[in-house]
Symmetry: C6
Subunit: 270 residues, 6 copies
């Protein structure tokens, strides 16, 4: 239990469970202490969001999460003027709120956002640590507790959507990957209620399918899909039907690829 | 009759008729119980919308349907500020309403929508099950009854419009196809009033034309068109005229293809 | 005289003249009775608009016509909020008005409209027959008298502007072509005041020019242009001058093609 | 003097001078009498605008001219709602005003306008002669005196900007070209004040340069530039300097082409 | 001193200095007297803006300068409605103001502006000399003193940004080039305070570098950069450092080209 | 200590530390005295922002920094009308404020901004030194103390984003590069708290990696990343872990490149 948890009265029981896979927890905490921003890289559904949520509770900090997308602009993060009673009233966006309260702001899939988002990130991620609100004329200084965390999935090959080096070089970076087998079995069993023995072949299957990434399928099976599959089995659905609905159909629309994946599945789960 | 129907006083007579073609009803119900979102894949007019409508009534849940399109943005689903008496007043969109009332929200042809729609779907489709309304600062937690269902037609080959894996892997998926012959005859007869003997050759013809998909015609004949055709025949139109107006003309604008389809039709319906 | 005309007191004399060229009047009436939407396909100026106008009067129904174009969006059909006295007031669009009054709504050249128009057409063209007004929260059920008619010209080859199969398969379809010679002579004579003997060679010329479509000229001569030409002759303009101003110049800007068309013209009209 | 001039008290002296080059005045007047719309085709500066202005005065009709451009939309022609004292007030656009007052509306370079302009032109150019104002719900019937005239320059090769056949086939069309030599000399002399003997070589030069169109220069010299040139000479500038400033520099930016054109010029004007 | 200066009380001392390089002053004055618009062509920093400023003062006319850019639209020139106290109030743009006061309006780099700017220029540049303000319904007649001057740099090769011939042929045109050596030395010496002997080698260098245009560098050195360079030298910076900061670095980012230019520089300025 | 510092009571202690690498401080001060605008070129994180900050404090001038981006338009710099109490009220943008107060306005990565930004820079960067506010009708004259500084990174190869020569030739230019080794060691040690002996191999590594720029990595390691790395080491993280998180992961997403960079790193830092 860190000093921050004590100060804010967080107990370990309230912390979302997270089993570290390396030095990521240490790195996150150091980054927070030294006031350095952090970038998480990794595939879909490997636990990045859960990790940030775990660390925020562990450090006793409020967490603001923003899922970025093609149309997310700087003003969606900083705030806007709205019309109230004939006047324009400024309303803080999620990033501004997070800076004011000194918590963690997590921008998920930040490469998806519009390019002008970089403009609010740059002054927040150098030694100035300020958030300029051009429209109000304010210039917020981030308090010591504030930390910016962003993530993206380097697996998507999209030149137009890459972060500029001048942005990337403002973040400490960690690469995430899927959990080691034993850990993944444990996680899926806990989340679905299915016992570990019945979960094990699903994780086995996932490992095989993840090796096909880039060939027949665009992305490996996420831990989330394994949880879905285990839920269906736990509810009484035959394993093969559950695998089809929760793993094969979500991975591909192509009839031939489905056939191939089904063969792989049947070789593992009998 | 499920427990939900009893609680809400729905009787079987009020349920829109639907003849299952596999385990789709079981899967839908399990997904609803385990609070997992569902994706329906399948061709035009094969009964996806009818299926959702059937399940919603069967489970005694209010249903909200949104047909997605190129210009549908996140704000069209979540809501907007409108000007009333000089003030801006927040008005819930269809997704927000559905989350508040805890029913089923069905986004038809979700791949057509703008990319920022993903941003409201992601937090609703992981274990948080929340709908963040950034503009009002609210963060709605979906009640246990709420379920998100989306659909798309994988038959259209459009790379720009595919769902990202990070979205797809958040849904259990079912693939739909056209009904088996006997079932389709029954459905068309009921909907059009034409007797089954006269419907049978139309379904026969449909089977032949569906095999041409991808060659001469972009998509197979939908069950809906068969119903249209049977309606015209039932109203007294000669069969060949009805087939032309309800099947051949809707399938193609190409004179040569029309000729070919007409030959196929005449070989079946004499 | 149909029962609807009797009920609404329409007399035959008020019906815009239309000479059917096949079973299109029967099909239109059946579609209206069975509440099925209708799609008219055919070249420029072959009488589609006139046909709809004729059928609307014959059935005693109010007609709303909307010419679609590149920037026509769903909101242009359904309605918008306008600012009145500081409040936003909803104003019905032409489609909404037509649904409320239960008449015929005719969307001319529907493929030209923006893609989001499909979203208001889909729920109106399946068995639900509803028009969802998302912005007001209303969901209008179309009364039995309401009928949706759309048209487009399949002669324009524009992949980007084709209707999706999922839209096309919601309509009964009729293909229109130019009138048979005798009928076209009658129509042009009536509309221009020129006697049939002097109209005949113009229709002869039109037939020849229509065969050139796709080679030298993009589209065949419309009946409308023949009427224009006959008007000029009727006003005393020499035939060749009238043909140049009303037929050749509107068909092409290319000097060589003009020469070729002029030769064709002079061989027919001496 | 036509009957309309008498009725409105226009005298010949007030009519902008125009020397016809064919039957264009007769055609214009017939089109007006028979209520047919008119399309003028021809190169830059050959007198189309002057011709319309001449005919409008001659027929005693008010003239509204709109120069079309890339961003001109239907609403720029029909009108808009503006905010006045908290209310939205409808303000007629130039086309609507012209329809209301029953004069001539001239849309110059109509192909430049946005595509949705076609939607207001179509119902005005068939036998309905109506202008639907969707936003106000009005549907104006054009009075007998109203006439729509449009123009474009077929010399620009721009596939994206061509009128659709369904639009073109709604207009009688006239092709304009530069004036015959004697007429052009007369026009330039009158407009510039320079005597005809000194104007003649300029017109001679123009004829030579117009033959180069499509080779070295994009468009032939307009009559307007000849007037400019004659003005400079009339003001005392040496002929060669005037030709450079008023003819050669406006035609090209290319040094080699300038040299070639200068040689042509010096061979004519010594 | 012209008659206009006398009338408005301008003395020669107040006229921005300009040393003519041909008949451009005579041409400008004639164009103003004959009410013809003027187009200036020429490279960056060769003195076009200064020339217009000189002529405006000399003729005793107010000058309005607008730097055109990609997003400059017609409304930016003519004016807009703004909201004041609940009403929309019309606010004149710079062109409208200039027309009202009858001075010179100079549109710098007019090809950069959006295409709809042409629509306000056309009626101002033919014999009507009017500025139609469609949004207010006004139609301003330009007073005799008003003159429109535009400029662009033909050196940039951008097909998308060329003026249409129908626009170009509405202007008298002058081509500008860099000053002759002696004149440029005088100008740079006056503007920087550095004596002519020390300026001479800089002008010598400029001449050499201008010959490289199109090969290693996109544009020749402007007179403005020579003034900057002379300023630095006058402030005590070593010549080679001044040349690097004021001439070589502004011309190129390429290391090899910089080396080559530096060699050229050192050969001239020792 | 300059005279300006004295006048404004700035003491040396308050000046952000900056160790010059050439004549850049002298050039900046001369440019400010002669009222010439300045352009800084150089790679990410080489200290351009720090340099401007240093000079502003040294000269006793207020500094306004704007990070430019794809959507930054002229109005974002100059100001906008906002609605307050029913009226539109003008609110100065950061550039306008800076001009009014006569300080330094620094536009970071100016090439990223929208093209219309050039229009406000041009009149500010020639001898007029004015900022025209078209929307308010004001024309601000920059006071003697005002200075415009812009920067960009010529290392990005983006033809669409280059400054036009007509803009570039309005600025004195300095090229920045990474610091010489000894200086960089000093800077990193001061900023991170790690002693110089332990910083030295990191700077050594940076030099090696910067040579790979353009081959395996898009941009060299910034001094900022070295500071991050030193911070982690200073906090107790093993050197190799710190190098991975602060240098290798921020530089690349490619597994092979990471391996290669790791080998380089291990050869240097043992």
């Amino acid at each position: 239990m860190t000093i921050h948890q004590k100060l804010r009265g967080v107990t370990l029981a309230e912390i979302p469970p997270y089993i570290p896979n390396g030095n990521e927890c240490q790195l996150f905490e150091m980054a927070w202490v030294r006031q350095l921003p952090l970038l998480l890289k990794g595939p879909t559904g490997c636990g990045k969001t859960r990790f940030v949520s775990h660390m925020a509770t562990r450090l006793g900090l409020p967490l603001t999460t923003v899922s970025c997308h093609d149309d997310l602009a700087a003003a969606d993060l900083t705030g806007r003027y709205l019309l109230k009673g004939g006047d324009t009233v400024w309303v803080d966006g999620p990033l501004t709120k997070s800076v004011r309260e000194g918590g963690i702001c997590y921008l998920d899939e930040v490469v998806e956002a519009r390019k002008d988002v970089a403009v609010v990130l740059h002054p927040l991620t150098d030694d100035r640590r300020i958030l300029p609100l051009e429209r109000t004329g304010e210039q917020l200084e981030a308090p010591p507790g504030f930390m910016l965390v962003v993530s993206y999935n380097p697996g998507y090959q999209n030149m137009l959507k890459a972060l500029k080096p001048s942005t990337k070089q403002r973040f400490l970076s960690i690469e995430f990957d899927f959990l080691p087998k034993a850990q993944e079995i444990a996680v899926v069993a806990v989340e679905s209620g299915l016992d570990e023995a019945r979960v094990a072949p699903l994780v086995e299957l996932a490992a095989k399918l993840r090796r096909l990434k880039g060939h027949d399928i665009e992305e490996g099976v996420s831990t989330r899909l394994l949880v879905y599959c285990a839920c269906l089995i736990d509810s009484g659905m035959p394993v093969r039907d559950a695998v089809r609905a929760a793993i094969i159909e979500p991975l591909t629309d192509d009839a031939d690829v489905k056939l191939a994946l089904t063969e792989v599945a049947h070789s593992v789960i009998v």
